[in-house]
Symmetry: C2
Subunit: 465 residues, 2 copies
């Protein structure tokens, strides 16, 4: 580390022997240029003299120089030797100045926000076993660029499962695997927009994140009226497509009334309309058999949308569409050109999880656990907050707690004081809904892990009491 | 199975006892309605009489009826009993008439199409081990809806790896995990379009699937000229952004000449232009250290795009962006609202794979294997087809075999006769390129599994000989 570097005023730490010499020298020089310790225009020692100084082979130095010339850090010109490139140095990037924040700025003690299952009950061991079986068995080409509709193993497993568990008329050829419900809805929004639709009917209550996805696709969302029997379907003039949660309205929790199921299917047949059926938590019904999917009544006019986000975990980012024949080609073509697709390993694992029966076992165990929570919620409310009426509790992972008029905001504040994260119903109401606003909490009793459940329930009762 | 069903002319198979009775009856009735065996309007026996006939509890029948009313298959009206719903029966979906075809209509014996690594060498055992460690260690909330930029574990691992292996200046906060390169490019295309760009400069040779993704985003692609030193960068008038493969031009195989690297970085600084750096196979270079990423020279104007598709497998659908601070917020916001995201389990597994050193070991082994194949290709050509010149062979998983002028199509036909799938260079040439067309094959020697490699090479030499 003598003359040559002394001249440059740079101290480099380069091990003189071993396979990493060239690499070490390259990295050290690059860093010296990047940091400004070697200024633009600086002439470097010849490779011969630097090699001698460092006690390493001349070729090693020449290679390192050549690599840095190729990368643009140095320049080599006939007659002027090797120099640091003449270029304004890049300013160090401001430390995350424009970087987006993470979403988790200190969380409350208890979480009853709906939309997530109990993540602590994700069947990790069973999932890993299924992953091992699936990956061991998969043909090599399963790991390549594949069918944009998703792996055939998963589409076949879903066709069987959905037919059996949800009454869906599913053909593996018309199932398209997506990165969760949002991806599926984005895809459908794009297809509808291409077909010339400008708007989509939605329910008066729902998730604004879904409405916003549709808005991004260029579709307005027009809320259908809502009454005590659920979404009203008596006036569908001008509607060409609608998004519904027929088995379990989100968040109100009622199933679509049988007459209205009949009405929307008749409407779809009569007008060629399209129904997007969001079956987000169809597996979870407690007091009787789940209401089967609307899609079974008319697979030519209903698009079925399902997801693993409630039955397993949102982090899997796995959802699926069952498409009418008239839409299958368009959706596949759009997906094909759009770069959308899901990793095959989770797809193969879910296929194995379903066909081995592990999925059914998991859903049964989860149903039992959530049912117990629901029962605990209802009985706690009966004693601790008798003025509060729990509705929408026959199914799903959440309940609507109806509050005395005008009290939603004060209850939310009381909940925050109790360290409880929970949502009011008002945030699920479409801005254009004609429905009279109701004061209520939407309580996601599926969300907390077991160990936090009783504390969460206590905090809730405290906020309501 | 007596009177009641005899009346209806329907034979149902319902087990009379056990927990599945209601379910079995429901399914059987639904199927009878669906298939038309129970015609619309048919009045069903009373629950009392059917229960007696079947020897099951009356409540079970009543529940099954109620479930099917709720689903819309039956109707129940005061005074007219339970009937099959009056509705035209859905026509059975035509058997996959409009369904898209799968992409695999009988494959050739050998595959030298570029773009895929050897899928047989995917490190299944090591990957499963990493998956087990990752999933065992992951906090529960990792399985929920998370940061749209991807799991922090993976972004941190990538920041370290890319800095070390590719000279990328990466901050985990500005890394965004995507579903492969296509997803990343689609996202960037949308952001550029929103910024008002109407076109993007691309290279004269490249992948039409990428150009088409950009066209879908509303951007024209304008090819930059190409000569023996690679893509020309001397006239960038009017260019605001460009997509390049600086380390290893695809498919020509040359690195971007150092002067031109300098020129594009200077252009970007001077004009505020943006360079999208596609570093698709940056890890694979055989005769010297890989050329470092252009992004290291100017992280404020270069977006780095990487992928696991070449180093591991396309089926993982994992890619990543390293974004300049000025773009990070926009890209994250767009992704946030767009439903794009990748499964967390593969993300956690890849993070573990990288940090445990398994990724480095895998890349080293793969590099050795591909290098041997390249050497075998070059020496076979030297003896069997001396008129053919192999270029672009210093790096990557493919070579360009330059053919005598006017012979590309006939060589492709000869290859097909040999049962060999291989591409001509003409399909990688941008339609608007001014460059003189060259006759050549683009040979993906990384593609076949080991056992098929020598056969593929033999077929190739046969087609060229």
């Amino acid at each position: 580390m003598a003359k040559a570097w002394a001249t440059l005023g740079v101290d480099l730490h380069v091990e003189p022997t071993g396979p990493g010499v060239r690499r070490g020298l390259t990295d050290a020089l690059r860093e010296a240029v990047r940091s400004g310790r070697l200024a633009p225009g600086t002439r470097l020692p010849s490779s011969r003299s630097l090699a001698a100084d460092l006690g390493i082979a001349r070729n090693t130095v020449a290679d390192a120089y050549a690599g840095l010339v190729a990368e643009g850090w140095l320049t080599a010109r006939q007659g002027s030797g090797t120099r640091v490139a003449e270029r304004t140095l890049p300013q160090p990037a401001p430390a995350s100045a424009a970087a987006p924040r993470t979403r988790d700025p200190g969380r409350p003690a208890y979480d009853l926000i709906p939309g997530s299952p109990d993540l602590a009950s994700f069947p990790r061991t069973e999932w890993l076993k299924a992953a091992r079986r699936a990956l061991t068995r998969a043909p090599h080409d399963a790991l390549g660029y594949g069918d944009v509709r998703g792996r055939p193993e998963l589409r076949t497993a879903l066709a069987g499962y959905l037919s059996r568990a949800r009454g869906v008329r599913a053909d593996a050829d018309r199932i398209v695997v997506c990165s969760g419900f949002s991806d599926a809805l984005t895809l459908l929004g794009a297809v509808l927009r291409r077909r010339g639709l400008r708007s989509l009917a939605v329910e008066s209550y729902g998730l604004d994140v879904h409405w916003n996805l549709l808005h991004r696709s260029g579709l307005r969302t027009v809320p259908l009226p809502f009454d005590e029997l659920g979404t009203r379907t008596d006036d569908l003039t001008g509607v060409r497509a609608m998004l519904l949660t027929p088995a379990h309205q989100f968040p109100m929790g009622v199933p679509l009334h049988p007459d209205r199921r009949a009405a929307v299917v008749d409407w779809a047949r009569r007008t060629g309309g399209l129904i997007l059926e969001d079956d987000y938590d169809g597996e979870f019904r407690y007091d009787r058999q789940p209401v089967g999917a609307l899609q079974g009544l008319d697979p030519d006019h209903v698009v079925y949308l399902g997801t693993a986000s409630k039955s397993l975990a949102p982090g899997l980012r796995l959802g699926w569409l069952v498409l009418p024949p008239s839409l299958a080609g368009e959706v596949t073509a759009l997906k094909d050109g759009g770069g959308w697709s899901s990793g095959v390993l989770d797809q193969l694992t879910l296929a194995e999880f379903i066909t081995s029966g592990a999925y059914d076992r998991h859903v049964r165990a989860a149903r039992l656990r959530y049912r117990r929570r629901r029962d605990a919620l209802v009985s706690s409310l009966a004693t601790r907050a008798p003025a509060v009426r729990a509705t929408g509790i026959a199914a799903g992972l959440h309940a609507v707690l109806q509050l005395p008029p005008g009290t939603e905001q004060s209850v939310l504040r009381a909940a925050a004081w109790q360290g409880l994260a929970v949502h009011g119903l008002s945030r699920y109401r479409h801005a254009a809904a004609f429905t009279e606003p109701l004061d209520a909490l939407v309580v996601g009793y599926g969300t907390p892990p077991d160990h936090a459940w009783s504390g969460a329930l206590e905090a809730l009762c405290g906020a309501l009491g």
